[in-house]
Amino acid sequence: MTEPLLDVRGLTKHFPVTSGVFGRVVGQVRAVDDVSFELSPGETLGLVGESGSGKTTAGRAILRLIEPTAGQVTFDGTDVTRADANTLRHLRRSMQIVFQDPYSSLNPRLRVLDIVGEALEVHGLTSGAETERRVAALLARVGLSPSALNRYPHEFSGGQRQRIGVARAIALEPKLVVLDEPVSALDVSIQAQVVNLLLELRREMGLAYLFIAHDLSVVRHLSHRIAVMYLGELVEVAPRDRLFSAPAHPYTRALLSAIPVPDPKRRRQRIVLTGDVPSPLNPPSGCRFHTRCPAVMDRCRVESPPAEEVEQGHAVRCFHAEGERGDDWYRRVSERIERQVAENAAESPAPKPLALPDDVGAPAEHHVAATPRRPLPKPVRWLLARPRRRRLALAAALLASFIAGGAFGRASREREALAEIKLLRAEIQEYERVTGSLPATLSDLGWRLPPIFGGLEATDPWGRPIVYRVRASRKVDPAILEPDRFLVLSLGRDGVPSRDDLGWGGR
């Protein structure tokens, strides 16, 4: 093999979990753990995994959009992990990214010309009319007409926005583009348009892609090699066709069999995994897949399996593949797994047959209880127990105190929230002033008070200039913000926080 374009060695990213006012670290979310792979020029590696597997974090840590905790990333002979700001800026000309959500990854206040042309001007490649010519050419390249230049992102459909995202990524003629779920937010017929565009660009520009996705059929269509991640670890890496013809890890096998195939004649036996992906905070001991693995052995619960290279370019992290290589390795590994699955199945009791409870099992009659047996609210019951003559006066007093209490409570909640928002707004503006871009998450701001807000993302639900939706984490005082609701804060141009800037939304 030629010199790899990208060489990732032992990449690790742990997020500290903090608690309390002083941000005491109480645990680590092990999002990416000891991930290694290589990528040759012009090659596409598909990185596949379910939500929480760490595939997106890995992609961002490679570009150093987030700082990796450990490990080394070498791009084109340069060490990315130790590069200073200057080198990094230079490197980023050759390493670009396309994000998943075409709605939040384009700045709604900028015209397409500025979105795509920004990088050209920042790197001093073009300016003025020359930029406009280059951007128009780029737009034509991704299938948009030049009339798009002076439009804003909200005027485009999802597929068109993703084309703009692609145009931005290829503007600097990079060697590597990280594609983070570029088509999963799009409709089927539009997905195919974007996939075809990505294939054309790869052919013409010799791009290398790191294609991050959860949809194996799209990944297969684009990739030369595929890496499967589970809970932060790579469990199997193989050339594309080998992964599909000889999947050796029990997780890969289950993943392949779980994908519905659009062919009604093929009703296959599915391997249905039990349970959900465990939390990456305190992942299972030993092999991380052992809690759901149908072929689990006793040692899997204690020891972590090493990566075993079963054939050229095909590595598996599973004890069933240990020591297996050479001719016929796949038949032997499959037999080992199937034997173990049968053994485990014999030991565990068969699932109870499904049956509805008797009464509910009766044929449905469309009947309704005459009165739903819900107790009346406490104040009403109390009121009803009073003498009839005094009821009216008491009811009025009760109502008045209820309204007053509600209004004052709400006012004080708003005051507190407004204070938080002022602080947050100042932080965001400071961040923007220093870095020239908006923060993507609260941790970018270096906030040490994570219990107040859980996350921050740029969206624009009402077409206002720019709006942050701040989701309350569960720990926030419900007096300030109820769980699972948003604080909606808009950064209006006036810069003065007002009641209009604050709204409440549920989700």
Binding site: S145, V188, N196, I259, P264, A364
Partner: protein, 354 residues
């Protein structure tokens, strides 16, 4: 399985009054659902598949949505214009629904047990203790481990797959005859999606309910449904049994969907996308709504709206589609021909927005 349909939707239209004008979300949709079958309604976002389902349940927003014409009959009873009280008695009882986002469809401030018990108390008149016992049995039915303990937990304490199981338990609480599943697995991971689909089918075999499965995933359709309705821009464009639809689609849109799909089971084929974008519901194209994106478009497609016509010889299961090209060329192989055709006037992406 009897042949008399359980749920019949006939020539249904739904319009929404919006600030920008009147949106025809559903326009003359007709299909029926039979006892114990799984019918899939397929289409891309905005094609009206979910709005049709909401109309069945009487859950359209009352102040902006109208049903100017059409009828929905459940077991012979007309539901369009039925009294709200009557619909309330059917909902969650004889007809129930599970939604795409299990997190937003569960109330975060009530325990799982309370939420399941609510429907049982309301429709069956059981007291709190009996309802709780019933809720525990339902959680067991949908294979939730440690059901007793889960009853007292809140939705945020459960994973996505578990929440969807709770939704299914709630939907099954009163043993519905019809279960409407609106993208039940879209928000879930593949391995969890497999669990939920398996569970739904198993429950259907066991309980004999009919499932109306709304989805955009043709893979899910192939593996679960007996019949398929394909919708585009508010109208049904094709309706057939699953196998013939997949083997020989009789509408260019359906054929286009198959060609846009990367397939695990077929290699090395280039994707042939449907050019252009789904039309803006405020500015629907004239004639056949698919004509601006259709590789088979003819002048007539621009002017008149094609009708759903039978494409099968009498005697075989019905296979209907609405297309002038197929009217003229009944034996055309749309999939093969699409590959060699270009869209007549490919709408450049810039024309897609107004």
């Amino acid at each position: 399985m009897t042949d008399a349909p359980l749920l019949t939707i006939e020539d249904l239209s739904v319009t929404f009054r919006t600030g920008a004008g009147l949106v025809r979300a559903v326009d003359g949709v007709t299909y029926d659902l039979r006892h114990g079958e799984t019918l899939a309604v397929v289409g891309e976002s905005g094609c009206g598949k979910s709005v049709t389902a909401l109309a069945v349940l009487g859950l359209l927003p009352p102040h902006s949505a109208d049903i100017p014409r059409g009828s929905i009959r459940f077991d012979g009873e007309e539901l369009v214009g039925a009294a709200p009280e009557r619909l309330r008695r059917l909902r969650g009882n004889a007809i129930s629904m599970i939604f795409q986002e299990p997190m937003t469809s569960l109330n975060p401030v009530f325990t799982i047990g309370d939420q399941i018990a609510e429907g049982i108390t309301l429709h069956r008149g059981l007291d709190a203790e009996e309802a709780r016992e019933r809720a525990r049995e339902l959680l067991e039915l949908v294979r939730i481990p440690a059901p007793e303990q889960r009853l007292d937990e809140y939705p945020h304490q459960l994973s996505g797959g578990m929440r969807q199981r709770v939704m299914i338990a709630m939907a099954l609480a009163c043993r519905p005859q019809v279960l409407i599943a609106d993208e039940p697995t879209t928000a879930l991971d593949v391995t969890v999606q497999a669990q939920i689909l398996e569970l739904l089918l198993e429950l259907q075999r066991e309980l004999g309910m009919a499932i109306l499965l709304i989805t955009h995933d043709l893979g899910v359709v192939a593996e679960t449904a007996e019949r398929v309705v394909v919708m585009y821009a508010g109208a049904v464009v094709e309706r057939a049994n699953t196998l013939p639809l997949f083997e020989r689609p009789r509408h260019p849109y359906t054929a286009g969907l198959f060609l846009s799909l990367p397939r695990l089971d077929r290699e090395g084929r280039d994707l042939k996308p449907i050019e252009g974008t789904v039309p803006d519901p405020l500015h629907q194209p004239s004639g056949c709504r698919f004509h601006p994106r259709c590789p088979f478009a003819m002048p007539v497609c621009r002017e008149s709206v094609p009708e759903l016509r039978e494409r099968q010889a009498p005697g075989s299961p019905p296979h209907l589609s609405a297309c002038f090209y197929v009217d003229e060329h009944p034996d055309a192989d749309l999939v093969a021909e699409s590959l060699s055709r270009e869209t007549p006037e490919p709408p450049t992406a810039a024309e897609g927005f107004a």
